[in-house]
Symmetry: C2
Subunit: 252 residues, 2 copies
Amino acid sequence: MTPPLTAPAVILSQPQMGENVGAAARAMKNFGLSELVLIAPKCEWPNERAQMLASGSGDILDAAKVYPDAAEALAPYNLVLATTARGRDVVKQIHTPEAGIERLRAAAQTGARTAILFGGERAGLDNEEMSLTDAVITIPTAEFSSLNLAQAVLLLGYEWLKSADTTPPVRTRASIAQPASRFELTGLFEHLEQELDAAEFLFPPAKRETMVRNIRAMIMRSGLTDQEVRTIRGMIVALVRNKYRGSKKDNP
Amino acid sequence: MTPPLTAPAVILSQPQMGENVGAAARAMKNFGLSELVLIAPKCEWPNERAQMLASGSGDILDAAKVYPDAAEALAPYNLVLATTARGRDVVKQIHTPEAGIERLRAAAQTGARTAILFGGERAGLDNEEMSLTDAVITIPTAEFSSLNLAQAVLLLGYEWLKSADTTPPVRTRASIAQPASRFELTGLFEHLEQELDAAEFLFPPAKRETMVRNIRAMIMRSGLTDQEVRTIRGMIVALVRNKYRGSKKDNP
């Protein structure tokens, strides 16, 4: 039996601004994270600005646990990954966000309690905190790198949700996107080609086969639905009718 | 010869708040996007609040192009993907961010000019805009979904950079992380086991082999460097020396 899977806790070390904690909570909620832990916040707590920025995710703030230091805050967790920028001088494995999240999910699946630790806005993580973490996650950026706390939480939350997301990479809306049956498509091809023959568009005869093939390929590429096939056939009928009307007028 | 690859433009339709445009520019710069296009901004332009929020990415704002409508703004692009939330009633392919970015990169590699279109804060994208796009990108979220404009730009920018990022998923810092040679490790094993034998820790003899194997596995798991192996051997020497001193004191 699979033990119930718990999403990683988000642990913010010494956050300075309530706004950022609120924005982090909101980012969490977008991606199904709910456990927020604060280590020695430098802003007052509970925090009004945090509540304002959290709009809709105040429940996460209300349930947030606050601890005086990293040892107490990290005590319950079996696997803790720290997010850091480049260049810290420790011998730890550095994961991409995707690989880090994969590791957290694998651990959670065996029943481990997991957490992601984020440093304060300016100071980052101190040595004591780093010594209690298993490994590091670094978010890849361009030369210019100015991700704030809530953005880092957002990106990790996104990877967490994504790692269990079974949405197919490419899809069309199920309700209306049933591709046309081959029967409908063949009907369209024959209808169109008949009218194009009548209009002497498929000319000269030696090129007819290639032209037909190219037109069919062009039509197939748009992945039409039954309804769209019917619409196109209606358009052909309308265009042809108009032409005959025009012809009648020109040559009465 | 590969044509030069151009990153997708970020096109914001009718943005309402300068702050959000500024934050979007900053998000872009983190991930190597630089071409910003605005369709009929509802805020004044140029915009002071945008400049404030852009900190460090003002160059992107300064170079931003502004057009009165979607037809003009989208005119130069060969492939345009729209980001939308769920539930829009159009028959278009819907991509995950990863798949959408893959499609943009593949097109860019053949020399196509590409763009990602983002709707305004409230109204989203209108039908005319949607009709000019090739497909849709939807960012997966939990039930609660309140991503703002700059966050959507951030996530797509992140996927863009990630799609060309060759950072290995897991690594250790190259400068200090050379794993120990087997020679050093064998030296540690033998040294430790010799001292543990002397201390009668590896007891009873029938279990010695298993105990040694378990201890070696535990050590191997930590992926020690040469320096760390030397540190551990120093610790062993220190502990043993202390014990003998203790013994001498106890039994003079």
